[in-house]
Structure formats: structure tokens, C-alpha cells
């Protein structure tokens, strides 16, 4: 609903032994950055299974292997969209779609916030602590 926070998923939690994931989102658009090697693509691959469950069926996944990425993205409504390799995939057209299609929520593995309607709560990094993986604010 316009004027209120519109989140498809406020949090995504699941187990993927030996790890547990507890991802909490504070904005409609989340950018996951930080160091290389922190497990972003690992997370993406687990989501490929998770999105096939009833609870998380709103998840849509895109990466550099996705066919017709732009067209497929633009068809999304009321989805939780995850884009890996977003730094090389996203152009101004996609940014406009992300900014103005409010029905979707986004988790972008992206280091460049230019042109995106982000807040200070959008910037996150993946943190691994005692086999528990969370999203922490990027300092």
C-alpha cells in the first residue's frame, strides 16, 4: 500500500546445514555488498531451492545466466526479486523499474547505489557467526 512500507518478506529464515540463515530486511530495496567471498552466490544458490517452497514462492532470481533478464524482470509484480551479479546486469531502465514498481521488494547483490531509491537501511553485508548467517548494516 502506498505511503506504508511494502515488504513481501520482512525476513527470510531457513536452515541449510551446517548453517542457519536469518535475513531481516529494513527497506524495500536491500543492497548486499561488502567483501568478496562472504557467501552471496552461495545464498543465491540456496534460494534457487527455497523459492520452490510454498512459503517463499514469491522469490524470483536473476543472475548473469538469466535469459531475457530485462523482459522477465519487467513482468514481475508482488515479487521478492534477487539479483546476483547486479553490478553488471543493472542499467538505467532496470533502475527505473526498481524505483517505481512498488509492488516488488528487492535484494540486490550490488555495490553501486547510484540512481536507486535506497535508504541508509538498505546497505547490508552478509555476516557469518557461529554458523548463523545474517544481514548486518554496512558500516
Amino acid at each position: 500500500m502506498k505511503g506504508e512500507k511494502w515488504m513481501i518478506y520482512k525476513n527470510i529464515t531457513f536452515k541449510a546445514d551446517p548453517f542457519s540463515y536469518d535475513l531481516v530486511f529494513d527497506d524495500r530495496i536491500t543492497l548486499v555488498g561488502g567483501d568478496s567471498g562472504t557467501g552471496k552466490t552461495v545464498l543465491y544458490e540456496i534460494l534457487e531451492d527455497l523459492r520452490l517452497t510454498n512459503e517463499y514462492k514469491a522469490i524470483k532470481l536473476f543472475n548473469y545466466k538469466s535469459d531475457e533478464f530485462l523482459e522477465a524482470m519487467k513482468r514481475c509484480r508482488n515479487n521478492f526479486i534477487v539479483i546476483d551479479n547486479a553490478d553488471i546486469l543493472i542499467n538505467d531502465d532496470i533502475r527505473t523499474f526498481i524505483n517505481f514498481e512498488f509492488s516488488n521488494q528487492y535484494m540486490l547483490f550490488l555495490r553501486n547505489c547510484d540512481g536507486l531509491n535506497v535508504s541508509d537501511k538498505s546497505f547490508k553485508v552478509l555476516k557469518l557467526d557461529n554458523n548463523r548467517i545474517t544481514l548486518e548494516e554496512e558500516l
Binding site: 548453517f19 555488498g33 561488502g34 567483501d35 568478496s36 567471498g37 562472504t38 557467501g39 552471496k40 552466490t41 552461495v42 548473469y64 551479479n85 553490478d87 553488471i88 555495490r111 553501486n112 547510484d114 557469518l128
Partner: protein
Amino acid sequence: MIDIYTEKKDSKDWILKNDLYFNLNTCNEEMSQNEIELIQQVDEAKLTPDKHIETKYGLGTIRNLSSGCKTLLNIVKHPDKVVCVEECGPNVLKIIFEMDNIKVYMSRPTLFEIPDDAEIRFNDTDVVTGNSGYNTWWSREYERREMDDL
């Protein structure tokens, strides 16, 4: 000298999709001890002689390395190419900017440690030194982009 290009170019001498290039080319090349150490440093991954990797996330193949690590290896193995570093985290960029005679593409700045004596040339023209030079160049570039509404 590190050459930074900020306008994308479609050329066989450019690597824009690092995962793809690595998975089809670089991963099939012999990895030196230096490269094995880089893999350990960036991804905390142990590369076995048969190109499997052992990481805290489990076992995989060399193609399961992070995009940033693959980018670094693309640069090390192919220093003649212009390599897109936009997917690299600050940990990888720090390593890249300690190197010399390499060419990279980035369309916007990232915050990372640049050696004070790093000689950087933007788009074959503007030569700057270190962190301060790098940041000053990007400030002017953003002002230019704003004026041109880019």
C-alpha cells in the same frame, strides 16, 4: 601504472562478465603457487591439485569461487585484457591496486585502500596518485556527469 577505464567498451580484449570468462577459460589454466595463495586470501578457500576447493561453505570446484576472486584471477592470468572490477569487494580491490601494469574497467568509485604511491591513469589521459588523486578524479567525474545529466 594501473589503467582505469570508465566507459564500457564491447571488445574481445575486455572481460565484462568475469564469472563467464573464468568458468570457460581461466579455470582451465594452471594455477601457480601465488594464485593458490590469492584464492586462500580472498575466499579462504584451499585449492586442491585437481581444482576442487574447500571452503567454510563446503566443498566445490574452482568454479565455485566468488565473483571477486574470479575477477582477480582473470586479471592475474590475463594482464593484457581490460577487466571489469565492478563486482569486486574492497578486499579484492586492495589486492588489485597493489599490482602494476594492469587495466581495469569501473564505472563508479568504490571505497577501499589504495596505496599512497599507486600510479593510476584514467581513460588513457588523466594520471593521478594514491587515494587522494583517485577520489578527486571521481568527484570531478560525478560533477561532469551531473552537468551532462548522465
